[in-house]
């Protein structure tokens, strides 16, 4: 047989040929497109950020004429200014404090709902989700209406009750106030994660302890907690990441108290009162927090892998036994009631009432709504909110599913990088994303800056939600189901359209809904990237509130509540039905 030149590397050549053969041109374009999109959405802004940190002078964009390589930004931020002595301790206290509050509350609530005979568990489960769906900026605004030292409803009531005539007694504009508010706002998602961990725990582990003669408390301490540990630590880290990137509470509650955390500090550096934006310094400061987030993220990744191994699901449909609360029932209900009052009921009442009363007079009227509907910025903002949330949720769901498929089913160089990039987005604080996308698009001459479309792109960095969900359900789909299609003569697109997509549909829908809610709540990114033309509802509300148009701001908040409330019930049904399946 004649030896041909290309026979030198027959295996490599054939491997490439096969992949093209199996996927077809359309498949390759689709998958490569998704990979490129992921790099553009997540990695490109971060690279732009990195460049910006090392280019000066600070008020120039990294590649504007006159900019050059420099360490000035780093020196400025980490040596000369009080970043490390004020912002860093503040951020640490804020994060640790709020995570502690979140965790204590969420663990207690999850335990009560999942593992005790607490009455009205389903309504409580539903109500706990409230702050998950209502944008943080709305919650923050409602809490200032309730707990502001002078005019806050609760303070007025307390003063009347106790006969005081000084401001207070509660001052929300303080570090403890900030910590409590953020702590309560983060409860729902931690509650969901902890509840899931408790639910999937194998009851036989506890039963074996009881059968060995251990009393309930001993069982809880020696068996339940250690078994739950990975399932508990992972949400703990996630809550820390979320607190680290928090912007709304520090802006609304921390700013009046002169408490700056890292997110607000970046924002104010980017929007100084009477100077040009200091891009280089912002980027330099962002690096530290990005590094912190990445370290947390690596821990988190490590933990969820362990959690997957550790928590055993029996699949026999046994549920862990519920503890009888007995005389603890009343204290338990009081705890739940207190959380719901502060986290859902009072904020709703105060928003609705303020929107109809103008906050000052006692006669109810529709003035605020009239003024709001007449504002020529309001209706475009409504449209923008839904367009941006819907488009970005759709885009991420699609890209995420394609990424998850190729990461799981194909072997190709760069697979790990793609996996890391798609996962990384959990850890990137949204204020950094907003800023990085801004720098990137001020530099790239494609004219998206200031439009609604840049919001769609910026929101779409949250790829991890979709890749994780798709990946989890792709792992449930036996690869033989896909191979059976190929063996039946189905091309890759046939397989995707007729086998993969239908089987993936429930998780794609869940991913879309979740991302839509996230997009709907988004405040930080649209604020950082705001222009005349791309306001969304949360930004409008903040503007009105900052301009002392309290009633109109409350009206926006009320409209958001009106939209969100039915969604809570949809979400609850979805969560409860999944619970029923497992």
């Amino acid at each position: 047989m004649a030896v041909q030149a290309e026979e030198a590397a027959p295996i490599v050549r054939a491997a490439r040929r096969q992949r093209r053969g199996q996927l077809g041109l359309a498949g390759i374009l689709l998958l490569a497109g998704a990979a490129a999109a992921a790099l553009y959405l997540v990695l490109a802004p971060l690279v732009a950020l990195l460049f910006t940190a090392f280019r000066g002078p600070s008020d120039l964009l990294p590649f504007e004429p006159g900019a050059h390589w420099t360490f000035d930004n780093l020196v400025e931020v980490y040596v000369k200014t009080p970043l490390l002595s004020t912002v860093l301790p503040n951020t640490a206290i804020f994060v640790l404090g709020s995570v502690a509050v979140t965790f204590f509350t969420a663990f207690t609530l999850a335990w009560l709902v999942e593992r005790t005979d607490l009455p009205w568990r389903t309504p409580i489960f539903t109500a706990v989700l409230f702050p998950l769906l209502v944008p943080g900026i709305v919650m923050a605004f409602a809490w200032t209406l309730l707990f502001a030292p002078n005019a806050g409803w609760v303070n007025v009531a307390l003063r009347a009750l106790l006969g005081l005539d000084t401001p207070g007694p509660i001052n929300i504009f303080s570090m403890p106030g900030l910590i409590l508010c953020q702590g309560i706002a983060s409860v729902p998602f931690v509650f969901l994660l902890l509840g899931a961990a408790m639910r999937t725990m194998n009851p036989a582990l506890e039963e074996a302890s009881s059968a060995s003669g251990a009393r309930p408390l001993t069982t809880f301490l020696r068996v339940t907690l250690p078994v739950l540990r990975p399932g508990v630590l992972a949400p703990l880290i996630l809550a820390t990441l979320v607190a680290l990137e928090q912007f709304e509470m520090p802006l609304i509650i921390g700013f009046p108290a002169r408490i700056n955390v890292f997110a607000t500090r970046l924002y104010f550096d980017l929007n100084p009162e009477d100077e040009l934006p200091a891009y280089g310094r912002v980027a330099a400061a962002a690096l530290l927090f990005l590094a912190a987030a990445v370290i947390l993220l690596i821990d988190y990744n490590h933990l969820i892998r362990r959690a997957e191994r550790f928590v055993t699901v029996t699949g026999k449909g046994y549920r862990p036994t519920r503890y009888a609360l007995g005389r603890w029932r009343l204290p338990a209900l009081t705890f739940v009631g207190l959380y719901l009052a502060v986290g859902a009921i009072l904020p709703s009442i105060v928003l609705v009432w303020t929107s109809f009363s103008g906050g000052s007079t006692d006669s109810l009227n529709l003035e605020a709504y009239r003024a709001l509907f007449a504002d020529r910025r309001f209706w475009p903002a409504v449209g923008n909110t839904f367009i941006v949330a819907g488009l970005s949720a759709g885009l991420i769901t699609l890209i995420g599913a394609l990424l998850a498929w190729q990461i799981l089913r194909l072997r190709f160089p760069g697979r790990r990088l793609l996996d890391a990039v798609s996962f990384m987005s959990i850890g990137i604080p949204s204020v950094i994303t907003g800023f990085a996308v801004m720098v990137l698009h001020l530099t790239l001459p494609i004219g998206l800056y200031g439009t609604v479309w840049i919001l769609v792109l910026a929101y779409s960095y949250r790829l991890a939600v979709s890749t994780r969900l798709s990946r989890a359900s792709l792992m449930q789909i036996h690869s033989e189901l896909e191979e059976a299609s190929a063996a039946s003569g189905g091309r890759w697109l046939d397989t995707v359209r007729r086998v993969v997509l239908p089987l993936l549909a429930p998780s794609l829908l869940a991913s879309f809904l979740l991302l839509f809610i996230v997009g709907f709540r988004e405040f930080t990114i649209p604020l950082v990237l705001q222009s005349q033309d791309n306001w969304v509802l949360s930004v409008i509300m903040w503007r009105l509130q900052a301009d002392r148009q309290t009633a109109q701001a409350a009206a926006v908040g009320t409209l958001i509540l009106l939209f969100v409330t039915p969604v809570i019930f949809v979400l609850r049904r979805h969560l409860l039905s999944r619970q029923g399946e497992s």
């Binding site: 189901l481 191979e483 190929a486 063996a487 039946s488 189905g490 239908p502 089987l503």
Partner: protein
């Protein structure tokens, strides 16, 4: 019909490279039923997946019905969906989001150029009738029992009338009784359609019962292939003998070799047997005498030429019993009639059937 030449495949694993296939060659004639038999990890499923086009070998070539579908040296690798095959998976891979009709119609629906809906319907119903599932056409796939799912998988594999049917352990997920029944149904089905079949299994009784040709695989190679009786009766080495049914091994020494018959001294010379011998075994060679439990008779009284053993246990198995015996340090098994009345510790005498014994040089 199916020609496989020089198939090699190496996987990179955490513990270094694993050579799954070390050069596989075989042919299946038109209408033949060819079985790859071996323990898990021997490479049999990898071979089948290479034939299906789901896996690409590192070297070698495959031709189906005269069409070269894989030729690594020339860079040819036809993707699975362009191969003229039907494949039944161990898990059946019945799509849960389709009904029975949808599952079976799939290979026709993805065919280009498109088929008319009426043709599809007729052919799907034909295929379902073939497996006796025509009344289940509208049943949701998730509401089927294991045996029904398997029939649907067969209908789906056959509906395109492929030239080659590939079966990857199709019976191993069924319980024992159903497995036996499905084995006959499957054989019946295949002989009725006359399709050329490549079958992969680790179950030797399936392989022996169903195949025209059995190929025993071990560590990425085909160790022996041939008609079931031939492979069973004339195993080429200890591995094959051990894997195909149970086998007894008795260490001995050739005393005399003449005219194709060797006289072997067993048990330190206490007894001798005359066994048909291969060439090359001279007097003085240490050998293993191999025989099957059903090829030895067991008696509780001594007789001429019988070998004395100690009886360790009699295991009642219904239609027969298995005697576990000990000769020196060697454990032996024999099949006896269940009426044999013996107790552990009794002495027993076994008589070999020399023409059913095989000699191997001891390793």
């Amino acid at each position: 019909m199916l020609t496989v030449r020089g198939l090699t495949k190496t996987y990179a694993t955490a513990d270094g490279d694993f050579q799954a296939l070390k050069g596989i060659d075989f042919d299946v004639p038109q209408g033949g039923f060819y079985t790859l038999l071996g323990e898990s990890g021997c490479g049999k499923s990898t071979t089948l997946r290479c034939v299906a086009g789901l896996e690409e070998p590192d070297g070698g070539s495959i031709a189906i019905a005269g069409q070269v579908v894989t030729d690594i040296e020339r860079g040819t690798q036809v993707p699975a969906f362009e191969r003229d095959i039907g494949l039944v998976f161990q898990s059946y891979a019945i799509w849960p989001h389709m009904d029975v009709f949808g599952n079976v119609a799939y290979p026709l629906r993805v065919q280009r150029p498109r088929l008319a809906a009426g043709d599809i319907k007729a052919r799907v119903m034909d295929a379902l009738r073939l497996v006796g599932m025509e009344s289940f056409a509208n049943r949701q796939a998730t509401k089927l029992s294991g045996g029904q799912q398997q029939r649907v998988a067969f209908a789906r594999a056959l509906v395109r009338r492929p030239k080659l049917l590939l079966l990857d352990e199709p019976l191993s997920n069924l319980d024992a009784k159903l497995r036996e029944q499905m084995r006959f149904e499957l054989q019946e089905l295949i002989s009725r359609t006359g399709v050329t079949t490549l079958y992969v299994t680790h179950d030797q009784s399936e392989a022996l019962a169903m195949s025209d040709t059995v190929a025993v695989m071990s560590a990425g190679r085909i160790v022996q292939s041939g008609a079931p009786r031939e492979v069973y009766g004339r195993p080429i080495d200890r591995t094959v003998a051990d894997f195909l049914g149970s086998a007894n091994f008795l260490r001995g020494r050739v005393v005399e070799a003449q005219d194709g018959v060797a006289t072997v001294a067993l048990n330190g010379g206490a007894s001798t047997v005359h066994v048909p011998s291969r060439a090359g075994l001279a007097a003085g060679a240490t050998v293993d005498v191999i025989f099957r439990p059903e090829d030895v008779t067991t008696h509780l009284d001594p007789s001429d030429g019988a070998i004395e053993c100690v009886l360790e246990r009699v295991v009642f198995q219904g239609g027969s019993s298995e005697c576990q015996l000990r000769l020196g340090s060697t454990a032996l098994r024999s099949v006896v009639h269940p009426s044999l009345a013996a107790r552990p510790g009794d002495r027993a005498w076994i008589v070999l059937q020399p023409e059913r014994c095989i000699l191997f040089a001891a390793e």
